[in-house]
Amino acid sequence: MYSEKVMDHFSNPRNVGEIPDADGVGTVGNAKCGDIMRMYLKVDENGVITDVKFKTFGCGAAIATSSMATEMVKGKTLKEALKLTNAAVAEALDGLPPVKMHCSLLAEEAVKAAVEDYMKKHPEAVID
């Protein structure tokens, strides 16, 4: 039921782990529903995401979408990262089963939550 790309990102997830001195951390989802995603960002003075890691509790699609989302925002500016959509994550994985589309939404929300956390901690930063 999963594409080869989903299985690849599930079995060899990219950027798993945490960044102890992260500049921004976002956690979304809840354990009751069976998915929690946490994203850690390292951002340089130019607003570029230089490193990103994730930890996810969830199904195969939740892990694969987290992994794909980290790849898609790494090296991008915060502004670009905020433009990441769940549809783009799902498409990059060659699609998701309909019941798993919420996982891609969670990945989008996790990136946004991490960027928002960065903005809160760095009120001087401007995204334009």
Partner: protein, 393 residues
């Protein structure tokens, strides 16, 4: 990469035994008659059908005319419950069942509620056991049927069906038991149990899919299920699935032969899995430790989601099952795991390994060599595990 796939999902379905298949084959091309036909080809089929009925009846210890072949466990459950409900409506409109029945029972009862029946769904204890006292207390002057499964399909818990049958008899209420998981795993004798109806399904004990049976005690007032021809003594129309029925009869004989010896071997492998897996940190056993099917292991692995476990096991060549929401096709984890009181997040991390007569010691060793590493890997990427370990430093 291990190319020999290890099948640990025998509660979902089993492989057809080669002996069973061999016995079935002539009934597709040689003895293919319609058992209702009067000619020789038909009579041959009829003879095979009635012979199969006698053999299954002998295993269950009932009369051949108390045994009806169906299309499977779900049909048997549907028939027993709807058939009793509508035939006894004038006597009462109340049905008692448990909250951990198979959906074939639960959804049938829910549908009957829409038809004006009332249903009591009894709770279970933390091990998944129904209390006989609760059954008795739920009986009213309107109660016509009690349906409680012999053994649970997810957590393997055995129910006190003999005691429930006794209570039902005292109150003159019909008692049906879904024994789909129990046949071939524990001894099933309808006289000794004292049930009025019992459902079984061929593919759960190395028989073919698409064939099951319903035992109906003689004298039970029950409506026919499928209307049409006069097959199955006018109670279940449709040209009989003779190859399937031959397969079921052969399979049930094989499955119940030397049952004690087989169960002892399978439960010793089950116990190795249970003991070694629950020795891992934050892994718990679901269901009862001893009042349990010999082939069922069901654990909850905290901080990990069940579907991820299944996929990782599948990549390692092991087929298993889970009660997580992701595998149930709904947002909620299994109703059975919630009924035994597991919080959602722990229910999401459930894993069922179900063994069979074909399970080998090497399979158990392989699962035990692979699963702990998979659990570690998934926990290493789990924010729940991270937070729990931070909080308990």
């Amino acid at each position: 990469m291990n190319l020999d796939r290890i099948y640990m999902d025998n509660a979902a379905t089993t492989a057809v035994s080669p002996i069973v298949l061999e016995k079935m084959l002539p009934y597709f091309t040689e003895i293919y008659g319609n058992a209702s036909s009067i000619h020789g080809t038909g009579r041959e089929a009829r003879k095979a059908l009635e012979d199969a009925r006698r053999r299954v009846a002998a295993v269950l210890n009932c009369k051949p005319n108390e045994l009806y072949f169906t299309s499977g466990g779900s049909e048997s459950d549907n028939w027993a419950i709807k058939g009793i409900a509508f035939a006894n409506r004038k006597r009462g409109n109340h049905i008692i069942t448990s909250s951990i029945e198979h959906h074939a029972v639960l959804h049938t009862c829910q549908w009957l509620e829409k038809q004006g029946f009332t249903v009591t769904y009894l709770p279970v204890d933390e091990f998944g056991r129904v209390s006989v006292k609760d059954v008795e207390a739920a009986i009213t002057d309107q109660t016509i049927l009690i349906s409680v499964m012999a053994a649970n399909n997810e957590i393997g818990t055995l129910q006190p069906i003999r005691e429930i049958a006794k209570v039902a008899k005292q109150h003159k209420v019909y008692f049906h038991t879904d024994a789909v998981q129990a046949i071939g795993a524990i001894p099933i004798d309808v006289q000794e149990i004292g049930c009025d109806m019992l459902s079984l399904s061929g593919h759960k004990f190395h028989g073919p899919k698409g064939v099951g049976a319903l035992y109906i005690r003689q004298g039970t007032r029950i409506d026919p299920f499928m209307h049409g021809g006069a097959q199955e003594r006018g109670k279940r129309a449709t040209t009989e699935n003779i190859p399937g029925i031959i397969g079921l009869a052969t399979a049930i004989e094989l499955a119940t032969e030397n049952l004690e010896e087989k169960s002892a071997r399978i439960s010793s492998m089950r116990d190795q899995l249970i003991d070694q897996l629950t020795a891992l940190p934050y892994v718990r056993l679901n269901g009862h430790r001893t009042e349990r099917l010999p082939n069922n292991v069901n654990i909850s692995v905290r901080f990990v989601e069940g579907e991820a476990l299944l996929l990782r096991l599948d990549l390692a060549g092991i087929a298993a099952s889970s009660g997580s929401a992701c595998t149930s096709g709904s947002l909620d984890p299994s109703h059975v795991l919630l009924a035994i009181g597991l919080p959602h997040e722990i229910a999401h991390g459930s894993l069922r390994l179900s063994l069979s007569d074909t399970t080998k010691q090497e399979d158990i060793d392989y699962v035990l060599s692979v699963l702990p590493g998979i659990i570690d890997d998934l926990r290493a990427m789990s924010p729940l595990y991270h937070d729990f370990m931070e909080a308990n430093k």
